[in-house]
Symmetry: C2
Subunit: 180 residues, 2 copies
DNA sequence: TGGGTCATGTAACCTGTTACATGATTAG
DNA sequence: CTAATCATGTAACAGGTTACATGACCCA
């Protein structure tokens, strides 16, 4: 249940509407989590039922009225509980559509597999560029024992994962092309 | 929509019941895709409605009766279509609960983050061992231009990804522990 | 002889995706 | 002046997870 907790985490930064959260999410968490807007609205509803957040309606004249959410004491407690829980089983959910397709590519000509890999490579290259650009835009970071730069570790992970994937793709294409 | 296609792929190997597929899935695709049994049953139902598979009831006396599925011509066509389609956008769905938790770990003591990483490390080590054991059990492979060993590329990917993750975890723990 | 596992599934719920709606503002 | 984008969401459907059901067989 990471999405709810991600939203709770964002709400500890500031009160936000669904729309705000959706933007915030894009800028921060989207490198390791995809969520679309409507999902965010629904999760906010649910979390209000549970009591992790409260909302208040804000009237606007230039734009549609909005509903601004804030985290409650219970929400904060839940966030901390989740962060402390050691359980790592559910961290290893694997679902890799690229490998699924590649796995069965013996049913079609080799060229399709190569094209698949090349298309995905382009996506990796772009995603990697976006992340490192974003990191560069933040500049140097000071870390202390009291404030480790966790966001930096996460972006490092992502960048290196793309590097790994690109390398593997290149090798795999070369291997495919060298087959006689 | 990779699960349906994965099941279609497995059904090109042999006719199977939901239960059989669930086992087959475990042995072959589970390294890069998690699917639970009930999901498989439901997808089979859906695919029968669409006409990608047909089933027949097989009476058994020692065990509950079963329903055996086979792939249809339409199912085969769909599998090939899916394999040929170049679309790589939907291959890059990211959802990483580890990074989500790590990202917000500034809210709790450093030890919790370290414990989280260590737990996940253990899972990676085990998963890696299981995969390489499975590969070892298969022995040497002959590849030709007509028959590339795609399954091998997929397992290579998985092994290397675990190596990458383990390395990153070790570095990150070291980094966390060195903070003053 | 009682608790696990095999073999087969169904039902209910939770999460993710796609499509749509509305009125203002900005870009070409 | 027309099309995109901003700013706000709702509704419906598809896919994933958890819990349960049933009867045989196998191990201690």
């Amino acid at each position: 249940m990471s999405l709810k907790h991600g939203l709770l985490g964002l709400l500890t930064i500031r009160k936000s509407s669904g729309y705000d959260l959706s933007k915030l999410f894009q800028e921060s968490l989207s490198f390791f989590w995809v969520a679309n807007q409507s999902q965010i609205y629904r999760e906010l509803d649910k979390m209000e039922e549970i009591g992790w957040v409260v909302s208040s309606k804000v009237e606007q004249d230039a734009r549609p009225n909005k509903r601004v959410y804030g985290i409650t004491k219970e929400g904060n407690q839940e966030l901390i509980r989740w962060l402390k829980e050691g359980n790592a089983e559910d961290l290893s959910v694997v679902r890799n559509p690229l490998l699924m397709k590649l796995f069965f590519s013996g049913k079609v000509e080799k060229d399709h597999a190569v094209a698949l890999l090349k298309n995905y490579r382009a996506i990796c290259v772009q995603a990697r560029a976006e992340i490192s650009e974003q990191v560069a835009g933040i500049g140097d970071v000071e870390e202390t024992a009291a404030k480790p730069a966790y966001w930096l570790y996460a972006t490092e992970y992502s960048i290196r994962q793309y590097d790994f994937q690109i390398k593997w793709i290149d090798e795999t294409i070369a291997r495919l092309e060298s087959l006689k």
